[in-house]
């Protein structure tokens, strides 16, 4: 059990640590999001937008990177093999689906948590906003984001294996689509009614919303 599960973590870590493009998921992309949307929010504030707009950015970047990095781990458990042309060897092993899910999602969780700390530290330095203060409230909500991302990732995995490798692009499009519906950088209530219907059934909408509410109430208080 232990060996089979850790094999996935071992593989992902070895490969990630050697590919700058993979490390960017943790060390670069989150900050691109933070800066681009953060600067945009500042611009809006100078135009008269409320000050707490910046909170949408912080909570959004934090939660969305959590989603992204978690989904990446579970889907890359398969795509790394497809890219290296060795998928058939992965099935021939002793490991079962549960090892695959556990190993890759633990890697996802570790890398998401790392991303969280980095972005939260940046938030503290740049915006002077201490996300760590509410860690007890963050944990269950980020866990929901993580579980949902892993679930979507597994769905993409099963399409990749049972249908075709063509579904690989879903890894990137699903993230984008779910992001739009989950109200990451704005309250979901601004979405048009039909979109809200979808939005309401996504657990990410509620998790992100509840983190947002907490932080906005805190700053006001």
């Amino acid at each position: 059990m232990f060996e089979e599960t850790t094999s996935y973590i071992y593989k992902q870590w070895k490969i990630m640590s050697r590919r700058p493009g993979e490390l960017a998921w943790i060390f670069v992309y989150p900050f691109i999001g933070l800066l681009s949307i953060g600067i945009y929010a500042f611009f809006l504030i100078t135009q008269g937008a409320p000050l707490d707009s910046i909170l949408y950015v912080l909570v959004g970047v934090i939660s969305w990177n959590f989603y992204d990095v978690s989904q990446r781990a579970i889907t890359f458990g398969i795509t790394l093999d497809i890219w290296s042309n060795c998928l058939r060897h992965s099935f021939a092993g002793n490991s079962r689906i549960r090892h695959f899910i556990l190993g890759n999602s633990v890697f996802g969780l570790i890398s998401s948590v790392l991303t969280f700390f980095l972005v939260a530290a940046a938030g503290l330095l740049v915006f002077g906003f201490n996300l760590f203060s509410a860690w007890l409230w963050l944990i269950p909500n980020l866990l929901i984001v993580f579980i949902f991302a892993t679930g979507i990732g597994l769905m993409i995995d099963s399409l990749l294996i049972s249908q075709s490798e063509k579904y690989m692009s879903l890894i990137w499009t699903m993230t984008g689509v779910i992001m739009i519906f989950s109200g990451v950088y704005y309250p979901a209530s601004v979405l048009p009614a039909p979109m809200q219907a979808v939005s309401q059934i996504l657990p990410t909408t509620h998790a992100i919303n509840s983190m947002g509410i907490l932080f906005r109430s805190r700053t006001i208080a």
């Binding site: 059990m1 060996e3 089979e4 850790t6 094999s7 071992y10 593989k11 070895k14 490969i15 050697r18 590919r19 790394l80 290296s84 042309n85 060795c86 058939r88 060897h89 992965s90 099935f91 021939a92 092993g93 002793n94 490991s95 079962r96």
Partner: protein, 324 residues
Amino acid sequence: MNAIEVSNLKKCFRSDKKCIWALKGIDLKIKKGEIFGLLGPNGAGKTTLIYILSTLLLPTSGTARVLGLDIEKGGDEIRKRTGLCFGGSFFYWDMTAREILEYYGRLYGVKNPERKKRIEYLIKNLGISKFSNKYFSDLSTGMRQKVAVAKSLINEPEVLFLDEPTAGLDVEVSIDVRNFIIDMIKERDMTVILTSHSLYEVEEMCRRVAIINRGNIVEEGDISDIKRKLRIPDVIHLYLDRYENIGFLRSIPGVKGVAVTDGVFISVDSGLKRLNSITKALKSRKFRIKDLEIKKASLEDVFLSVIGQRGPRHMLGEIWRENV
């Protein structure tokens, strides 16, 4: 006890609602501890059969048992107890040879310190030491193939599937790989199924073979039995002091053809059995034999004859007869 039993196994690949039958009803029994050769031209269905037996593919119909386990129900157990090696295998580009073995060792649930021991053993004995810490992307074809062989043995499999394990390798590396596998088999009670386009390799490693053509087994059994059954002649090649009036050789029992070109070629049903009577007959007519060689029918001849692509080299008896 049979390690593998296949009965009426069929596999169709669907494309555009049409069925492409890769296997059309395979029956096969492979004993424990045997090295069994699977021969066949490109597209014959060898890899498909190996995929099904290693539970990577499901058959369309028919049944197969590996180590007594049904391939459809016992997949997990079969995967755990078998090893797989393909020619031209790829692994993760930015992992080293040693790391790749470490990864698969874990994937197969091999615990330390056993895992460490096995990895060191394979690295040492397959000649991987020199490049064990190089990235896979920087390895040559031969080095990569050695890693593939090592990977297939990391779980000490009871059944080893080798699909063209030496494809693309030079002679020296092929010999290394082959010898290592042969040694491993001697050490353990391992059953091996080998497909190869090197008939020499199959002839060297296997006693029994099956020849597959277009999804059917067209011939199966001991290589020597198949040769006998197909009556593929051996050839006795003689250099004599003269070559006039040697037509009498054709009347010797077992002789199928005689031809004089560079020396005299006598095709016979069995080289060893007929050699004595031929040399006796020649000596009694005062021929002097300067040199002599028996050319046994090769697996290549069997193969070409069975798949009906062309007559084997040694079957040229007909033409030779006209020659004399």
